[in-house]
């Protein structure tokens, strides 16, 4: 039987039905009735210091666990502060549901105090959003929100709840079924297309598997490995695909694209068949489109039909869930030797490995990442954006899905630290390390308070070069070393900053201190920040300049 409850009570009840255990948020006037209701509930609420970080934490939680992350904010500035986090989740297909308070329905549109048209603002960065005008719609809308966020190509959904809706009494009943006429994601691949792909794969002399974040979202990593080992094709991944295929596997080529390995880019250029799985041929991957994989046929497996032939034309498109499609695809394939192709790749790997100058006394960022990998190969790594992100991607060899969490599409500086907190909340038994830069970390470092107070012992490894490093690198290479607005000359002492918040702070200036510092930080039961004072003008190589073909590579000349 339906019973009478307030909108706020219904809200908490709905979240329980969706098995929500944790919410990242910050209260305010327009969402007080819901906070009052949460006060007595067993749903964990983690109070952030800035709403942007609530969205990033929900995002990190979702990427680490595969479950939908939830964040919450009040109306107006609370809601607008979520926007970067929502856009970030949208670009990287991360399932989060954001709830915002709104001014009472009678005041909407009147420029009331702390009113913002958040459904209007987030229109292009949500899969769908809702303004709840009738409290009795709330249960259905919440069910739809979680369903849409987590199915098909996942993404963020926002639900805006006016204050009076939170206090209105309704007959509560959680709907059992949903009817969404316009939303029916294709799950199974078309059998005929799969058959065509099978033939193309059997005919190919130089196939390459190009795996993206979709493999991880779909949970298709085992099927992907089975496919690679069966057809003996090398596998390269995108940034978000890291972990889809073990980077210690002999068939792994590491990451492709602007800062990918040379051998991945060479293989991509010479291949006669690209098997793209859950990847979207982003411009950071393809470089100059006209010169991208000039001799290749393309099999494109993706759940989102809008990705097919968006950037690179697909000869054989297969729309559906990667796991299902790969399973079907494997059935029709046989082992086929491709010694010549694999030998060529081995030769490239030997001739052009990832490398940097190991001779000097300076502390090198690549060395720091290598040490983190040596000491914590099973850690979940999050990154900020820029040089730190690329060094992490190049030198941390991911072996399992959901262990490398990075802002790919939007490239949001300040993402990694709150994402690490979210990941640690979702996976409390794992070591979680944010590989950061001094610029990025300062965008969200106030969340040290959140980590300390809520006892979320994440570790931050700042690769501190006193620069907005990636921008400086572009200025060095393409703007005649004119370092406009990239020198960060007044950063705080990060170790002391950490201590001021009650976290552990360590400063490292010499290569010899790296190992001990990482061990100390990981051993500590507190959140920790290690400030690695690295060589200030170290560059990320290899590098494909923007607009060049991906085999036109600048590399370290040692």
């Amino acid at each position: 039987m339906a019973r009478k409850v307030t909108g706020a009570e219904a809200f908490v009840e709905c979240l329980r039905k969706e098995n929500v255990e944790v919410i990242f948020g910050l209260p305010g006037g327009a969402i007080l009735p819901i906070y009052d209701e949460l006060y007595d509930s067993n749903i964990r609420h983690i109070l952030v210091r800035h709403e942007q970080c609530a969205a990033h934490m929900a995002d990190g939680f979702a990427r680490a666990t595969g479950r939908t992350g939830v964040c919450m904010a009040t109306s107006g500035p609370g809601a607008t502060n979520l926007v970067t986090g929502i856009a970030n989740a949208y670009m990287d297909s991360v399932p989060i549901v954001a709830f915002t308070g709104q001014v009472p329905t009678s005041m909407i549109g009147n420029d009331a105090f702390q009113e913002a048209n958040i459904t209007g603002i987030t229109l292009p960065i949500t899969k769908i959003n809702y303004l709840v005008k009738d409290a009795s719609d709330l249960p259905r809308i919440i069910k739809e929100a979680f369903y849409v966020a987590s199915t098909g190509r996942p993404g963020p959904v926002l639900v805006d709840i006016p204050k009076d809706v939170q206090t209105t009494k309704i007959e509560f009943e959680y709907p059992k079924t949903l009817e969404l006429r316009g939303y029916k994601p294709t799950i199974g691949g078309h059998p005929l297309q799969i058959k065509r792909a099978t033939k193309a794969i059997m005919d190919a002399e130089r196939p390459i598997i190009y795996a993206g974040g979709g493999v991880i979202i779909s949970g298709a990593h085992e099927e992907l490995r089975a496919l690679a080992e069966l057809i003996l094709a090398p596998v390269t991944t995108t940034l978000l695909g890291k972990g889809a295929f073990s980077e210690t596997h002999p068939l792994s080529l590491g990451m492709v694209g602007m800062h990918g390995t040379k051998y991945a880019n060479y293989a991509m250029t010479e291949t006669d068949l690209i098997i793209a799985v859950g990847a979207r041929f982003d411009d950071r991957v393809t470089g100059k489109l006209d010169a991208f994989a000039p001799n290749a046929k393309v099999v494109h497996i993706d759940i989102d039909p809008a990705e097919i032939s968006k950037n690179v034309g697909a000869d054989i498109p297969i729309v559906g869930d990667a796991k299902n499609i790969l399973r079907e695809l494997i059935k029709g394939l046989r082992k086929r030797p491709r010694a010549e192709w694999l030998n060529k790749i081995e030769k490239w790997k030997k001739e052009s490995p990832l490398r940097y100058d190991r001779s000097g006394k300076e502390l090198k960022p690549q060395f720091v990442v290598e040490q983190i990998y040596e000491l914590c190969p099973d850690a979940i790594i999050t990154t900020e954006v820029g040089q730190n992100q690329m060094w992490a991607a190049q030198y941390f060899k991911c072996q399992k899905p959901r262990t490398f969490i990075s802002s790919g599409g939007l490239g949001t500086m300040g993402y990694g630290f709150p994402a690490a907190i979210g990941a640690k909340v979702g996976c409390p038994d794992k070591t979680v390390i944010d590989i950061a830069g001094d610029g990025s970390f300062q965008m969200t470092c106030q969340e040290l308070a959140t980590a300390v107070i809520n006892d979320i012992p994440v570790k931050v490894a700042i690769l501190n070069n006193k620069f907005l490093g990636m921008v400086r690198q572009w200025q060095e290479l393409f703007y005649g070393k004119r370092y406009a607005a990239t020198y960060l000359d007044t950063s705080p002492d990060f170790a002391k900053l950490a201590e001021a918040y009650g976290a552990l702070g360590i400063e490292v200036t010499k290569p010899g201190e790296v190992k001990l510092a990482i061990e100390e930080a990981v051993r500590s039961d507190k959140p920790a920040v290690i400030d690695f004072k690295i060589a200030p003008e170290e560059n990320v190589f290899p590098m494909v300049p923007a607009g060049a073909a991906i085999n036109e590579i600048i590399d370290y000349e040692g």
């Binding site: 229109l123 769908i128 316009g182």
Partner: protein, 165 residues
């Protein structure tokens, strides 16, 4: 090339903004847009006329299909569909010109829907060519105001833009 998109959508607030946003984001100007409820009051039909690069339009169509509140999108081919637009033209009509204007209206099977001492409002329905021809003929008298509904279109014969995606 000009395209006429027939889009079935949920009859809900915010849907029009989502649909138009996909065009404006890519710098496309919508030539005309007509929206109204269908035989099912929960569903509206938008007829969108837009000009643009075919490749980009294909991308927009896919993105339209992706919107949760969009039920079905079809790119209507002119030869397979019936297209109509309704236009009202307020034309300067001094008494001595009036009969000539009324004759033109007659030829086009247009109707006079308002008369004042110095103006007439003429209502004309038809495809784009007919409406344009009418407009250019009336120009000589002086057009004071003009309003068009935007094109609406339906596919000919048994075929229909079904609800299912």
């Amino acid at each position: 090339m000009k395209h006429t998109l027939s889009v079935l959508v949920e009859n809900k607030p915010g849907v029009l903004a989502r649909v138009s946003g996909l065009f404006s984001r890519r710098g496309f100007n919508i030539d005309s847009l007509a929206v109204g409820v269908t035989e099912n009051p929960e569903i509206s039909r938008m007829t969108i006329v837009v000009e643009g690069d075919d490749r980009v339009l294909e991308q927009v169509t896919k993105q339209l299909n992706k919107l949760i509140d969009v039920i079905k999108v079809s790119d209507l081919m002119a030869e397979e569909s019936v297209e109509r637009e309704l236009v009202m033209i307020k034309v300067v009509a001094e008494p001595k010109m009036r009969s000539e204007i009324m004759q033109i209206a007659d030829i086009f099977r247009a109707r006079i829907v308002d008369v004042s001492p110095k103006t007439l409002i003429i209502e004309v329905t038809g495809d784009e060519a007919k409406v344009n021809a009418m407009e250019s003929l009336l120009k000589q008298f002086g057009i004071k105001e003009l309003v068009r509904t935007g094109k609406v279109a339906l596919t000919r014969g048994l075929k229909s833009v079904q609800e299912e995606k």
